[in-house]
Subunit: 210 residues, 2 copies
């Protein structure tokens, strides 16, 4: 049996604690070889029926970047309008995406109707394909962090509009828009806690027995 | 800046490669303290707006176990009926869940309407709450594997039926039914590859540029 040392276990937890959602990036470029190495984590992730439904779009051209940023800005303005008073002020001051400065930007989709996997495990829960993509993103996130790269997951975006703007197949669902680069600063405290938006629970409070 | 050693990076990739979906368990019990330590990974996972929408149900009682197993068996019989010929024979021979032998079984739900996080990041993509739960499951999975535990994710199950059977709130969505215990054997090759159901791609083939 394969075993992992206690040092490794401790360091794995340190990595998870230190992971964070990064939204402030230095302008320094990311070595394509390093990015590629981190992307290898996708291939190691679990996927239902080995369907590997992830489709990764590198958003590089100025036009694709602009359309994606406009999409975020519109969704963010709508979201801001749903808050009032002090809450709205706090929301307006938050930096919720690194899309203006992240050197690498990936839109990650799920191919909803891929034949790969031959439908195993998705008959009662078709959402398992999207969950496979999320598992791969989480693996990639940890791999990137282990190499010092920062990653921020943007979900304030109209997913159908983005797919249309990037001219992608109708049967692809957007799972995440990822901003990647070298972090400007490091912290173990989420920005949402720092500004008083929301706090994490100190421990797992949601264990129920049946 | 926090850095991780090259040894750690290599070992992290080894962990991801060796992770696997485990469906064959020894009868040995899992130390509750070890399980608890692995569950700590949930609290370290990213969640949209720090909403922490995961709700973890330990399925322990004989009645709850029986209902869950019946649910799987019915869904699995329906799935089998959708295949024909050799494919059906292969499907029938697969062991697709460890529900008959895993000492620990967890049903993991997402609280769709939690107030925590105050709605940030979920207005255009409400599925982000479920994706947060998947991220936490993936973190838990890696933590469990680093401690030598095996985990199998069952998705051949009627999610609404399970929620009803376990008497849980209507606004909770099932994300995963997890079987956990000490693996009977270790392999880096998925069972679906061994029996010829499906193969993994050798490398990431789905990078598209825009």
């Amino acid at each position: 049996m394969r075993t992992f040392s206690q040092d490794f276990q401790t360091e794995l937890y340190n990595l998870m604690k230190w992971r964070r959602d990064v939204r402030h990036f230095k302008p320094d470029p990311v070595d394509p070889e390093l990015l590629r190495k981190c992307l290898d984590a996708f291939q190691m992730a679990p996927s239902v029926g080995l369907s590997e439904p992830w489709r990764i779009v590198t958003v590089n051209s100025p036009l694709a970047r602009q359309k994606s940023l406009d999409n975020f800005k519109a969704a963010n303005a709508d979201a801001l309008a749903s808050y009032e008073g002090k809450r709205a002020t706090t929301y307006a001051a938050l930096k919720l995406s690194g899309m203006s400065d992240a050197p690498v930007q990936l839109a990650v989709f799920c191919a909803e109707d891929t034949a790969k996997g031959r439908g195993i495990g998705v008959q009662t829960m078709p959402e398992m394909r999207r969950y496979s993509v999320v598992s791969a993103i989480m693996s990639f996130w940890l791999a990137a962090r282990a190499h010092g790269l920062g990653l921020g997951w943007v979900s304030i975006i109209d997913p159908v509009q983005l797919r249309t703007d990037l001219d992608l197949p109708d049967n692809w669902s957007l799972v995440a828009y990822l901003c990647i680069g070298w972090p400007k600063e490091e912290t173990e405290t989420p920005e949402l806690e720092t500004v008083g938006w929301e706090m994490r629970n100190a421990q797992l409070t949601t264990l129920i027995e049946r």
